[in-house]
């Protein structure tokens, strides 16, 4: 099997070849490092490639496998993975794509990284993102743009554009992302890959650099629903180092995905969200979405429209809660303990306060500064009740809406984003239109419910369209079954994974 064929397998298939000793973890890891070398000039998904460490981890796993010492390891053991550079990795530079953290080498591992390491999964490197995960295009990275592997003139989405592009371009079979308002799902939609935001608290946030703590959630990125489910089970579960971690085991998501592959959705009630769609959604997006809904119906799903009346307010509430928490979470980047320090220019008193102000001015990009200022305003005395307080009330209403909807249906569905991947620079000048692109993904973060995006076809412009499932809190498995079923039905129509329709010149090198 050639390297090009090998890296195009799903992670589950790769794991099988490792277990049957057709391929070693080292060979698999090396194959991906080779693709990274060939593809990076085109996609630029990585901020740091940790090849040496990855190969050492692969060797350690191969040794264990040879010794028959792999009991208790998860199915994905030995399969390499890429990590969004928003997640802390001991000994490997972690920057959040910000100048303010450039060169920082953490002295500890995030809980999910400990789990990945314990699973014997080699870490290929750290992927690009919008600075501190703030953006929807990865254009706000301090270290350059990541390109969409489908069309290098277009953005990969964001903030997790690096992880999505790495998976989409076969640089990695799996990746971790973080999702605060859609940062896993929207890049998934833009790159024709699968991205999951688990229930809030389903995956430990310990070691995920905080953007907006009450919205942030780590989740899996892959090319198939089953792969995301398998990775979800590796990283999920209770962690006593995160006070917001749910004290329960990870839901049986892989079993649900496998169940879905049977393509039988009889008895599954699917709700179309009345408030997401229509105006502002591109025709090609709407068309692919509607066709996919028909496909769900054809597999026996019962589809009906459901109203979540407060959903339109969740975008506004999000743009209060998110910057408020950002303003506080990013206070610690002050030039004292790690990262950048910039002293004030001559003529300005050389005080600690001024050092902090000039460090933060130089170290943060425009989008981050904008959000910090807005959040500082929203929390300041006299505005708290009107802003943050009100936004938290909207959150109550949105959660109530979801609860009521899930009394009527098992899963909710919508397009993941109003558009397909846009061109570089198209939306940077107008933050509001960029924010509106998150209208379909934000409600899940506001309500803490799990949601995922899977590809459902190509729009008229040849770019992938994302189909989003929502499930009730703590019942992530509920969305995996119909998602896997839809994926199987679509792949049958396409004659394979959607990515087979994408040109991959870097694999022919």
């Amino acid at each position: 099997m050639s390297n090009a064929e090998l890296v195009k397998l799903s992670a589950a298939q790769m794991a099988e070849k490792i277990r049957s000793k057709e391929v070693s973890s080292r060979e698999l890891t090396q194959a991906h490092l080779d693709v990274i070398e060939a593809a990076e000039p085109t996609v630029n998904a990585f901020l740091h490639v940790s090849g040496k460490e990855a190969l050492a981890q692969a060797d350690a796993f191969d040794k264990k496998l040879a010794a028959g010492d792999t009991e208790g390891l998860p199915e994905l053991a030995g399969v390499p993975i890429a990590i969004k550079d928003m997640i802390v990795t001991k000994g490997i530079p972690t920057t959040a794509a910000s100048k303010i953290l450039e060169g920082w080498v953490p002295p500890y591992d995030a809980t999910v990284i400990e789990k990945i390491k314990a699973a014997g999964m080699p870490i290929l490197g750290k992927t690009n993102l919008d600075e501190f995960a703030q953006g929807s295009s990865t254009e706000h990275s301090a270290f350059g743009n990541t390109h969409n592997p489908w069309d290098a003139t277009r953005v990969p989405g964001g903030s997790g554009g690096g992880s999505a592009s790495a998976v989409g371009s076969y640089e990695a079979p799996l990746a971790l992302g973080t999702d605060t308002g859609g940062s896993i799902r929207q890049p998934g939609a833009f790159t024709g890959t699968v991205g999951v935001k688990p229930t809030y608290g389903g995956v430990s946030r310990y070691g995920a650099i905080a953007m907006a703590s009450s919205l942030d959630q780590i989740g899996p990125c892959a090319r198939t629903v089953l792969d995301t489910a398998l990775l979800h089970e590796v990283i999920g579960g209770n962690d006593r180092r995160d006070s917001t971690s749910i004290p329960a085991p990870v839901p049986p998501v892989a079993a649900a995905a496998r169940e879905g592959l049977k393509r039988d959705l009889k008895g599954v009630r699917v709700g179309l969200i009345k408030e997401i769609g229509g105006e502002g959604f591109e025709a090609g997006v709407a068309a692919r979405f509607n066709e996919a809904v028909k496909l769900l119906e054809s597999m026996g799903a019962e589809v009906k429209e459901v109203s979540l009346p407060h959903l339109p307010y969740s975008l506004s509430a999000y743009y209060i809660i998110m910057p408020s928490e950002v303003s506080s979470n990013l206070a610690r980047y002050d030039g004292m303990r790690y990262g950048l320090r910039v002293m004030p220019p001559a003529g300005v008193p050389q005080t600690s306060a001024n050092m902090m102000a000039y460090t933060r001015e130089a170290g943060f990009g425009d989008e981050v500064k904008r959000r910090i200022i807005l959040g500082t305003y929203a929390l300041s005395a006299g505005y708290y009740d009107a802003w943050y307080g009100s936004a938290q009330k909207v959150r109550t209403l949105v959660i109530d809406d979801f609860n009521k909807a899930f009394e009527q249906v098992d899963v909710l569905v919508s397009p993941t984003a109003p558009s397909t991947a846009f061109h570089f620079g198209e939306k940077t000048s107008d933050p509001l239109s960029m924010y509106l692109g998150d209208v379909a993904t934000i409600p899940a973060n506001m309500a803490g419910v799990p949601a995922m995006s899977i590809p459902c076809g190509l729009s008229d412009n040849g770019m992938p369209v994302g189909f989003q499932f929502f499930a009730p809190q703590r019942h992530d498995e509920a969305m995996y079954k119909p998602a896997a079923a839809l994926e199987a039905a679509l792949e049958e129509q396409w004659g394979g994974n959607i990515l087979t329709k994408m040109a991959t010149p870097w694999l022919n090198a």
Binding site: E361, K369, N445
Partner: protein, 97 residues
Amino acid sequence: MATFTREEIEHLADLARIALTDEEITRMQSELNAVADAIDEVQKVATDDVPPTANPVPLEAYLRPDVAVTPLTQEEALAGAPATDQGMFVAPQILGE
């Protein structure tokens, strides 16, 4: 409807410890006004009878046993610091209150 004056943004920048340039302040004024207008909307539904939700998934605090773990070494703690001296982090002049 919220509008941001220059002075207001300067004050916020001071609270947030960011030495914004004049040009940034001007730009931010218009950008923030646009966002602020959009979010005035929440007050339409955030009535008195609605309780606020801080954490989307309702949990009560786990209380950690009072047992120590191995701490970071001094070397690890200081490794990323811009300036250190005698095992401590160096802060430029702190003005008294």
